[in-house]
C-alpha cells in the first residue's frame, strides 16, 4: 500500500503542488489526468525523489518517510521499491535492450549475471522484444524503446511502477503497442500510477482516476464516476472534449 499525505512543492515562488494526498491499494491502477501544468508529472516525480518535495509524508509498504527532511538512505530505499517509466523512455543509450533491463538487477539487486540475464530475457519476451535484445536504443523505434523501458521497470519487481506520460512522445501508430503492454502490466496485478492524456486508456484500465488542476486534486473516483458523472465543473469542462454523447447515455 502506498500513501502520500499533504505533499507540497514549489519551484521558487510558484506553488506547483498544494497539499496533495493520495492512497493507493495494492494491485490498484491509478491514473492521473489533468491539463498541462497541473502538477501531475511533478507529483509523480516527487514520489520517486526525482524532484524533492518541500513537505509531506510518503509511505510505501513498510517504510514511511518525512518528505521535508529525507535522508539519503531513505531516498534509496524508496527508489528501490519503485520503478519509473519516463516520457522520453530514458533508456541507457550505451547499453543494449537486455543490458538496460539487467543493469538494475545486477547492480542494485545483486542478482548473479546469469540469473539476471534469464529474468531479462523473460521480461523482454513478455513485452514482445526478445528478438531485439541486443539492439541499442538508437536502433529501436520509440514504441520499442518505451516497451524496453517498461520491461526494465517490471523486471525490478517493484511495489509500484510510476508511468510519466508513457505515450506522449510516440506517434499515433506506436501508441497502441505501448498501451497494450501497459495493459498487460496492469493485468499482472502490479500497482501502478499512470499520468496520461489517453482518456480511453485511463477509462479502460484504471481502478481509480484522479483529476488534477492547479496543483490540487480536484476530483477522484472510479473511471465511471469521473468520465460519466463528473461532479466538479472543472472536471466536466476538461473532459468535455473527450466525452462523447454515447458515454453519457451508457
Amino acid at each position: 500500500m502506498i500513501e502520500i499525505t499533504n505533499l507540497k512543492k514549489s519551484f521558487g515562488k510558484h506553488e506547483v503542488l498544494k497539499d496533495v494526498s493520495l492512497k493507493i491499494k495494492k494491485g490498484e491502477v491509478v491514473t492521473i489526468i489533468g491539463p498541462s501544468g497541473s502538477g501531475k508529472t511533478t507529483f509523480l516525480r516527487c514520489i520517486n525523489f526525482l524532484e524533492k518535495a518541500d513537505d509531506g509524508k510518503l509511505t510505501i509498504g513498510d517504510i514511511s518517510v518525512d518528505l521535508k527532511k529525507t535522508k539519503k538512505k531513505e531516498i534509496l530505499n524508496v527508489r528501490r521499491k519503485t520503478a519509473f517509466v519516463f516520457q522520453n523512455y530514458g533508456l541507457f543509450s550505451h547499453k543494449t535492450a537486455i543490458q538496460n533491463v539487467m543493469e538494475g538487477l545486477v547492480v542494485v539487486k545483486k542478482i548473479p549475471r546469469d540469473e539476471a540475464k534469464r529474468i531479462g530475457e523473460n521480461v523482454l519476451d513478455w513485452v514482445g522484444l526478445l528478438d531485439k535484445k541486443d539492439y541499442y536504443p538508437s536502433q529501436l523505434s520509440g514504441g520499442q524503446q518505451q516497451r524496453v523501458g517498461i520491461a526494465r521497470a517490471v523486471a525490478l519487481d517493484p511495489e509500484v511502477i510510476l508511468f510519466d506520460e508513457p505515450t506522449s512522445a510516440l506517434d499515433p501508430e506506436l501508441v497502441g503497442e505501448t498501451l497494450d503492454v501497459i495493459k498487460k502490466v496492469a493485468k499482472k496485478g502490479i500497482t501502478m500510477v499512470v499520468v496520461t492524456h489517453e482518456m480511453a486508456f485511463a477509462e479502460e484500465v484504471s481502478n481509480k482516476v484522479i483529476f488534477m488542476d492547479g496543483g490540487k486534486v480536484v476530483e477522484e473516483g472510479t473511471p465511471k464516476e469521473i468520465f460519466m458523472r463528473p461532479k466538479e465543473e472543472r472536471t466536466k469542462e476538461f473532459l468535455s472534449r473527450f466525452i462523447t454523447k454515447d458515454m453519457y447515455y451508457i
Partner: protein, 243 residues
C-alpha cells in the same frame, strides 16, 4: 661536413635511437593514465562547484593551459625539490629528472582532460542520471556506470588527439635534466658525431609512424564503440542494394 645527408648514417642511427622509445612511452603512459584519473576528479569537483575549491581549480587550470609545458617542466624540476626541502627537510635532488617530467605532464594532462571531461559530463542528458536513480542506483553507481561511460564515448576523438599531442610533447623532455628520450638521444648522437640531420630525421619518422598508428587505433576504437555505427552500416548496405 661536405654532405648534408648520408642514408647509411641514417640507417645506423635507427638502432641507437629506437631503444629510447621506452622512455618516451613510459612518460606518455604514466601521464595519460594518471592524468585521466586526475582529469576526472578535477571535472567532478568543478561540476560540484564547491566554494574556494572551485576557484583554486580554476586557477590551476588557467595556469596549466596558459603556460608552456616546457616552463611547467622547469618549474617542477627546480621548484618541487626546493619545496619539499623547505616543507619536510627531505632531499630529493638525487631523484631521477624523469619523475619531475612525469609530474609536470600529469598535472598538465589533468587540467586539459579535466576541462574536456567537464564539458562532456555536462553534455550527458540529465534523463540518463534520472533513469539511473529511478532503478535504485546510488549517485556514485550512476556516475561510474551510466554518465562516465557515455561521456568518455563522446570525447574519444578529442582524447585521441590529446594523446598524440602528449606523445609529441615528449620531444621537450630532454631539456630537463637531460632525460634521454628519442629526441635526447638524437641530440647526443649529433654532438658526438657532428652529424645531426640524420638522427633528427630518424626521430621525425618515428614520431610520424607512431602518431599514425595511434590515430588508426583510435579510429578502430571509435568505430567499435559507436553504438549508432551499426545502424549506419545497415543504412549503407540498404542504399547499395537499392542502387
Amino acid at each position: 661536413m661536405n654532405e648534408y645527408f648520408d642514408s647509411e648514417r641514417f640507417i645506423e642511427d635507427i638502432p641507437k635511437i629506437l631503444p629510447q622509445l621506452s622512455v618516451t612511452f613510459s612518460i606518455v603512459g604514466i601521464s595519460i593514465f594518471l592524468g585521466t584519473i586526475l582529469g576526472i576528479i578535477v571535472a567532478v569537483l568543478r561540476i560540484k562547484n564547491i566554494p574556494i575549491l572551485h576557484q583554486i581549480l580554476g586557477i590551476y587550470i588557467s595556469f596549466m593551459r596558459g603556460t608552456p609545458l616546457l616552463v611547467q617542466m622547469m618549474i617542477a624540476f627546480y621548484g618541487i625539490p626546493l619545496l619539499i626541502w623547505n616543507l619536510f627537510q627531505i632531499n630529493i635532488n638525487d631523484w631521477s629528472p624523469v619523475v619531475f617530467v612525469d609530474i609536470a605532464f600529469i598535472l598538465n594532462e589533468g587540467a586539459f582532460l579535466g576541462e574536456i571531461f567537464r564539458s562532456s559530463i555536462l553534455a550527458v542528458d540529465s534523463i540518463q542520471t534520472e533513469a539511473g536513480y529511478s532503478i535504485g542506483m546510488t549517485k556514485t553507481q550512476t556516475f561510474l556506470r551510466i554518465v562516465l561511460p557515455q561521456s568518455i564515448r563522446m570525447i574519444l576523438p578529442s582524447y585521441g588527439v590529446d594523446i598524440i599531442g602528449v606523445f609529441q610533447n615528449t620531444s621537450l623532455v630532454f631539456t630537463v635534466g637531460g632525460v634521454l628520450d628519442i629526441m635526447g638521444r638524437a641530440k647526443t648522437i649529433g654532438t658526438a658525431t657532428g652529424h645531426t640531420l640524420e638522427a633528427y630525421l630518424v626521430v621525425a619518422f618515428t614520431f610520424v609512424i607512431i602518431s599514425l598508428i595511434l590515430r588508426f587505433v583510435f579510429y578502430l576504437i571509435n568505430e567499435k564503440i559507436r553504438y549508432e555505427s551499426k545502424i549506419k552500416v545497415d543504412k549503407r548496405k540498404k542504399h547499395i542494394e537499392n542502387l
